[in-house]
């Protein structure tokens, strides 16, 4: 398949069947990603149930404003990438490229804020594994697991953001080169699904690491 004029790969009966198979495969991949993250969410649940006081201290020192701005950024980026898929389907190549550029810019903004947040925590003496002056200042059981889980879970999420941005960049290139054109438009829809996964994971990380400090 090289452009929109070729209808489908040889081993499919139709382009519809090919797109359906590709979507099914993507859902299965996303289910495996959910398994990966759910293990970490289970660990978070276990640690929080065993050390509520330590998690309370951790949440009080979270960068709530930065985390909340990042939530707005990711929700908006999900909207823009979903709209890019619609634009491509409608044959609006220029609008598709603009919406993809907006999505990528928002993703880069998210990463920039995230690394700024990490830098602030490091300056406060909060490092993974209970390392740093913060932990001597707040010797409460559960504080170190909270911050270690914070770095591991948000770090894994940032890796997914980077992967998603790479895929969206690649898709933009293909749309610009006209190698993805309607009716052969499902590759962009699949890339958008990967980006939505990034949004979905953050939708759960946000309350757990920024919002639920008052109990």
């Amino acid at each position: 398949m090289t452009n929109g004029t070729r209808v489908h790969a040889e081993h499919f009966e139709s382009l519809e069947q090919q797109a359906h198979a590709a979507h099914l495969g993507m859902w299965l991949f996303l289910a495996s990603e959910a398994l990966l993250f759910s293990g970490l969410f289970a660990l978070y649940t276990l640690a929080r149930l065993e050390h509520p006081a330590g998690f309370h201290v951790g949440l009080q020192h979270a960068e709530k404003t930065i985390g909340s701005i990042n939530t707005l950024i990711l929700l908006t980026s999900s909207y823009s990438v979903a709209s890019a898929v619609l634009a491509l389907r409608a044959g609006k190549r220029s609008a598709t490229l603009t919406l993809l550029a907006v999505t990528i810019a928002l993703g880069l903004g998210f990463m920039g804020l995230k690394f700024f947040e990490y830098a602030r925590h490091f300056a406060e003496g909060i490092r993974p594994g209970g390392q740093g002056s913060f932990f001597a200042e707040f010797p409460v059981p559960g504080v170190a697991p909270f911050w270690t889980l914070y770095y591991v879970m948000t770090g894994l999420h940032v890796l997914h953001v980077a992967a998603g941005l790479s895929v969206l960049g690649w898709m933009s290139w293909k749309v610009a080169r006209r190698t993805i054109l309607p009716p052969y438009d499902h590759p962009l829809a699949l890339a958008a699904m990967l980006w939505h996964l990034v949004d979905i994971v953050w939708i759960f990380l946000w309350p757990l690491f920024y919002l639920t400090e008052r109990v």
Binding site: H20, T76, R89, T212, R214
Partner: protein, 106 residues
């Protein structure tokens, strides 16, 4: 290919507005003292947001049954595993001591 009539610019915009409203609700609730409901409430709002993203932005509403089936089964299994794990942790305790054996025994 898909039933695309249910995913359009208007529905996407409405979903986006709903997502922002729900995010504002989550943020507002974080300042309220709701006691033990804090986490369940926040995660319930998250679950609604994720459902909106999956059904509309990821176009689950327009796809074939088997794709929806994969998502429902995967989420059901994960929820079951997490619930069982939480139940285990929450119901842990020191087991009662066995009564002392009486001298001589039965």
């Amino acid at each position: 290919m898909h039933e695309h009539r249910r995913v359009n610019r208007r529905s996407f915009f409405l979903v986006f507005v709903a997502l922002i409203a729900l995010a504002a609700l989550s943020y507002g609730l974080s300042f309220a003292r709701v006691g033990a409901l804090s986490v369940p409430l926040a995660l319930s709002i998250s679950a609604i947001k994720v459902t909106l993203v999956a059904v509309f932005f990821m176009e689950l509403v327009a796809q074939r049954f088997v794709n929806r089936f994969v998502v429902v089964v995967a989420m059901g299994m994960l929820s079951t595993l997490l619930a069982l794990m939480a139940a285990d942790v929450l119901t842990r305790g020191t087991p009662p001591l066995a009564p002392p054996l009486s001298a001589g025994g039965p």
